[in-house]
């Protein structure tokens, strides 16, 4: 709402500074967002008089306060700020015969959508340019002057908040107005020149045989005021907010009128607005105003009486305002209030439909009292706060992955459906029905594709060594039709592990499958999850022979591996990239809630190295399992020292150098004991894995 200060002074007297006024309105909830200075030249440029300059408060009207979309509404709110009361415009109307009711018949067929329709006929008008002062008002409010009658209807709407419409009376068939829902197939050409198809739940203003206006939204072209217009019908009506909003949305047509009706227009102001417009048309367009008004009013609206307990108001506000002061505050904003047996009895005027119960009155008292005068207190009771289990667990994961050198990132959940296709989840992805763009038409099903996009973007920016991770939600179509969402944790890495490596061999720094696996192993270790197995897997994002799924017991908790070139290409990732993605909830369920301390071994360990030569298809994990199983309970750990392939071991075979740690929890082992067990281990490896030893 653009509030001209020059104009505002017609409705309220004040001598405070404009800063004080702006602050006061803002602190009352009518936020003055911008103070605009309009010079004489600005008015001239916009077609105004060029004789005044003005200050305009551009203020933000909250959607519950339709009454602030008028000069009198703003003046009323300014009352307590400046210590004055709003002055309503003086309307004196000396109509002549015939009466309006002789000239126009008004019928409301759908009173649920139109509670009141006031009409006045003004004859023999002279359509011409508005006088300068009128144009200046319209310009200051941010509108464009058109002609005297249109400008007057806009002026009254801005002044009183009542949208008006002027019809060319002689173009209305049978001098009749019917307020009704549109009939199937009806169309209207609105005054913006567009033909619009009307739907049966849209309210229209019709004459005896066709719609002449889309009620509360826009008039029709073929009953519009023109230079030839002699007689006019002024419409001042009250329409249902929801109906106007629906129609306006459906037609994609938002007007000053529909904007006000959506937010609620005072049904009591309709006659005054009609008469105010008629008077101005008489004065400025030399029209003859017909005597009386036609007031079709199937749904009268009366002020609402609300009883308010002052102690309740003080309880919710945390104040100690006297009942007398509360009454004074309410009266200052035209909510007529008196005190009876310690209870406030208020008549809520019809321009305040937002007030329906005691709590709303408490807010009004608080607003006038001033929110800035409220104390600060704290609730009495102390309660024990806590994080969600997921929140706590997430921080464990984050700490572990950051310690592995990965940068935490945060990516969008709305993504291109292409990413779900890449992840092999196209049929499970949740689609957005009204996406902002095709790049945002789907909810992510995995984090890893997002992370690869992060990798690609950073590579494009010249950052070639990237290791990132994210913990966040992924979304799937649910069985019941309602989408599911769950938490996931994923990482991606490419390039070198360390960015500066002047004294280390280059190949040692390059991330590879095992760097990626190491991150997963570190994470599982940090979460005290043991016994993970890594099994080769096929996954649409991963290299066919460098991919694994992670199993703990029977439970599959995720995947890891090298990104297959087709996916890297599709996401513009350069070089060999590696990803892992794990099920957050599975990790949470597998991680022991409590870890019991184990005393470190008291006896020394003995170490034995052995170079085991096996066929290529024998997996390291099988060897470890055999070593442990045949180790008589004395094998504490097996470490991997080296893998060798080449002439010395022959084609199709490889040599793995293992370091076996022997330790007993009961005594110090002797060399002889360990050598005996080692012999049995080798025997088992030879028999069960076809191993030979170098």
């Amino acid at each position: 709402m653009k509030v001209s200060i020059d104009w505002l002074r017609e409705y309220i007297d004040f001598d405070c500074s404009l800063d004080t006024l702006a602050d006061g309105l803002t602190m009352a909830g009518l936020e003055v967002e911008e103070v605009i200075k309009l010079s004489k030249e600005d008015f001239t440029r916009a077609g105004g008089s060029g004789t005044i300059d003005d200050i305009v408060f551009d203020s933000k009207v909250t959607p519950n306060r339709g009454d602030w979309l008028s000069m009198i509404g703003v003046a009323r709110e300014a009352g307590p700020v400046v210590g004055g009361r709003v002055k309503m415009p003086n309307v004196k109307l000396d109509g002549s015969e015939p009466t309006s009711s002789d000239l126009i018949k008004i019928r409301i067929d759908d009173p649920d959508l139109c509670g009141r329709y006031v009409g006045i006929v003004v004859r023999n008008v002279e359509i011409k340019e508005s006088p300068g002062w009128l144009k200046d008002r319209v310009i200051a409010a941010g509108m464009r002057p058109i002609n005297n009658v249109v400008d007057i209807t806009n002026f009254v709407m801005l002044e009183l908040g009542q949208p008006l419409h002027a019809f060319d009376y002689n173009l209305l068939n049978d001098a009749q107005i019917v307020v009704r829902r549109a009939k199937p197939g009806e169309t209207i050409t609105s005054i913006d020149g567009n033909e619009r198809r009307l739907e049966p739940d849209m309210l229209v203003i019709a004459d005896s045989n066709r719609p002449v206006a889309i009620a509360g939204v826009m008039g029709g072209e073929d009953s519009e005021i023109s230079r030839q217009t002699q007689d006019i019908l002024i419409e001042s009506a009250n329409f249902n907010s929801v109906s106007i909003r629906r129609t306006s949305k459906r037609l994609g047509l938002v007007t000053e009128s529909s904007y006000r009706f959506e937010r609620g227009v005072d049904p009591s102001i309709a006659p005054l607005a009609a008469m105010r417009a008629a008077q101005l048309i008489h004065d400025l367009a030399s029209g003859d105003v017909a005597k009386g008004i036609v007031d079709a009013r199937p749904v009268p609206v009366e002020p609402l009486e609300i009883k308010v307990r002052p102690e309740r108001v003080n309880l919710v506000l945390g104040t100690s305002i006297t009942a007398e002061n509360m009454a004074r505050f309410l009266n200052s904003i035209d909510i007529e209030t008196h005190l009876e047996d310690g209870i406030l009895i208020s008549q809520v005027p019809t321009f305040r439909p937002d007030i329906t119960r005691e709590i709303d009155m408490a807010e009004e008292v608080g607003r006038v009292y001033g929110y800035d005068k409220l104390d600060t207190t704290l609730p009495d009771v102390t309660l024990q706060g806590k994080d969600s289990p997921e929140g706590l667990f997430r921080n464990k994961i984050r700490r572990s992955l950051m310690a592995c050198g990965a940068q935490e990132v945060l990516t969008h959940s709305m993504v291109e459906v292409k990413l779900a296709e890449i992840a092999g989840n196209a049929n499970k992805a949740v689609s957005i029905r009204n996406p902002l763009s095709e790049e945002l038409n789907s909810m992510r099903t995995m984090l890893a594709p997002n992370l690869l996009q992060v990798v690609a973007r950073n590579q494009a920016y010249g950052t070639v060594n990237v290791s990132v991770f994210e913990t966040g939600k992924v979304y799937f179509q649910g069985g019941s039709g309602r989408p599911d969402e769950t938490l996931s944790v994923a990482g991606a890495m490419v390039g070198d592990l360390w960015r500066s490596n002047w004294s280390l061999p280059a190949e040692a720094l390059q991330v590879d499958f095992f760097t990626c696996k190491g991150a997963v192993e570190s994470l599982l270790g940090a979460l005290n999850i043991s016994g993970a197995n890594y099994i080769p897997v096929e996954h649409p994002m991963l290299h066919p022979t460098r991919a694994a799924k992670v199993l703990v017991g029977d439970r599959e908790i995720g995947i890891l591996g090298e990104v297959v070139p087709a996916v890297s290409d599709a996401l513009d990732v350069r070089g060999r990239a590696y990803i892992y993605e794990l099920d957050f909830r599975a990790l949470m369920e597998l991680a022991p809630e409590m870890v019991i301390y184990q005393e470190p071994a008291r006896y020394p360990a003995l170490y034995r190295h052995m170079a085991v030569v096996v066929a290529d298809d024998v997996k390291y994990a099988q060897l470890v399992e055999l070593v442990i199983r045949s180790g008589k309970g004395l094998v504490e750990a097996v470490d991997m020292l080296d893998v060798y392939k080449g002439e010395q071991v022959g084609a199709g075979r490889r040599s793995l150098t293992l370091s076996v740690v022997f330790r007993s929890r009961e005594k110090t082992l002797t060399d002889d004991e360990v050598n005996a067990v080692l012999g049995e281990i080798k025997e088992a490896l030879a028999q069960k894995a076809g191993a030979s030893f170098r």
């Binding site: 909830g29 909250t62 959607p63 519950n64 929801v242 959506e262 937010r263 309880l315 919710v316 506000l317 945390g318 104040t319 709590i359 408490a362 807010e363 929110y371 800035d372 409220l374 600060t376 207190t377 704290l378 609730p379 009495d380 009771v381 309660l383 706060g385 997921e390 984050r398 950051m402 310690a403 050198g405 940068q407 935490e408 990132v409 945060l410 709305m414 689609s431 957005i432 029905r433 009204n434 996406p435 902002l436 945002l440 909810m443 992060v454 973007r457 950073n458 060594n465 990237v466 290791s467 990132v468 939600k473 039709g481 309602r482 989408p483 969402e485 360390w498 500066s500 490596n501 004294s503």
Partner: protein, 341 residues
């Protein structure tokens, strides 16, 4: 020459050699020459048998004195020589301390998540329990249960992404309130934090995705001043300085009375600066007393209990704190940006 004179000669020669010795090996030789089993001083003692009873005691004492003196001199000289030798050895091991260190790649937390964690810690300290809540939300929880009248213009500020007619991406974290309230008993203090979505075109200060925190408290006699005090307590801990809270009436269908809250600008301490546009205040979010309709819908007696609720966006805080001008930087994940914060 008397035995005594001879002793003086040995002493002088030995101490001279000790002072002249240039290595530990030379000192070892001197040690052997004079103090060894066949050393000169040891041999002197053997002469003791040829002396008179009177002379014996005196002579023996003199030899032992000289032996002790020489031992001490050797030890001191040895210490001096050792220090020099190890110094030379260390000198030969010099490194160029200006060469770069071997780089440890450390991961950093994302600045938004770090901010979220900080906010959580503060509210947990104030007695709030954080709960996990869905982002894909039912229309009824996002709007109807929050007292939005059907097709109200208030929804224009909450343009939504729809999955279908009944399901959308939540436009505010407040959507969880009715998922929690009916299932708990007052007193309660609950909070949630996470992603929210609005149908908005993206620019430096607008995004279709942003993060919000929402907290509410329900108890006997909860008042607007309790709300103001709680927000102040939060702001003091968040910004680490004395701040005031300013309430201004505002409208949200789920609270009544409703307020927008601002806190003293922590950059200029309320003096007025470019960031707070000279006002000294930073507008942070929306707040108010929980609308009685909402309490009643949750089966809570709105006469007996009152409550407050408030929420605010997360992004604004690190933007203000670190001078970040473009919202998009948070989710773009340029490591050159993330690694600075």
């Amino acid at each position: 020459m008397s035995g005594k004179d001879e002793l003086v000669g040995i002493r002088t020669a030995a101490l001279g050699k000790v002072q002249a010795a240039e290595s530990s090996a030379q000192l070892d030789e001197i040690d052997t020459q004079y103090l060894g089993r066949k050393g000169e001083l040891t041999l002197q003692l053997r002469r003791i048998g040829s002396l008179s009873q009177d002379e014996r005691k005196d002579f023996g004492q003199s030899v032992n004195d000289i032996k002790a003196e020489l031992s001490e001199a050797i030890a001191q000289r040895r210490q001096a020589l050792d220090a020099g030798e190890s110094k030379a050895k260390l000198a030969a091991e010099a490194v160029d301390v200006t060469l770069p260190g071997r780089f440890y790649q450390t991961g950093r937390p994302h600045i938004l998540i770090e901010t979220i964690e900080k906010i959580k810690r503060i509210f947990i300290g104030l007695g709030y329990e954080f709960v996990e809540t869905p982002e894909i939300e039912d229309y009824k929880y996002n709007f109807e249960a929050l007292n939005y009248p059907p097709e109200h213009p208030a929804m224009d500020e909450q343009m939504s992404f729809y999955i279908n007619d009944d399901v959308l991406l939540r436009t505010h974290t407040t959507a969880y309130q009715h998922r929690v309230m009916p299932y708990r008993k007052p007193p309660m203090r609950v909070a949630t934090i996470g992603k929210t979505y609005r149908y908005e075109n993206v620019d430096a200060t607008h995004g279709h995705t942003f993060h919000q925190v929402d907290c509410f408290a329900i108890d006997h006699d909860i008042s607007l001043t309790d709300l103001k005090g709680t927000i102040q307590q939060f702001a003091v801990e968040m910004f680490g300085m004395d701040v005031n809270v300013r309430f201004r009436p505002d409208f949200f269908p789920f609270v009544e009375p409703g307020a927008e809250f601002a806190v003293t600008c922590f950059l200029c301490k309320g003096e007025g600066c470019g960031v707070c546009k000279g006002s000294g205040w930073l507008e942070l979010g929306g707040a108010g007393l929980i609308h009685p309709n909402i309490l009643e819908k949750a089966g809570i007696d709105s006469e007996e209990y009152t409550g407050f609720a408030f929420g605010f966006g997360i992004e604004r805080m690190p933007m203000l704190e670190h001078g970040i001008k473009d919202l998009r930087l948070f989710m773009e994940n340029d490591l050159r940006f993330l690694r600075q914060l």
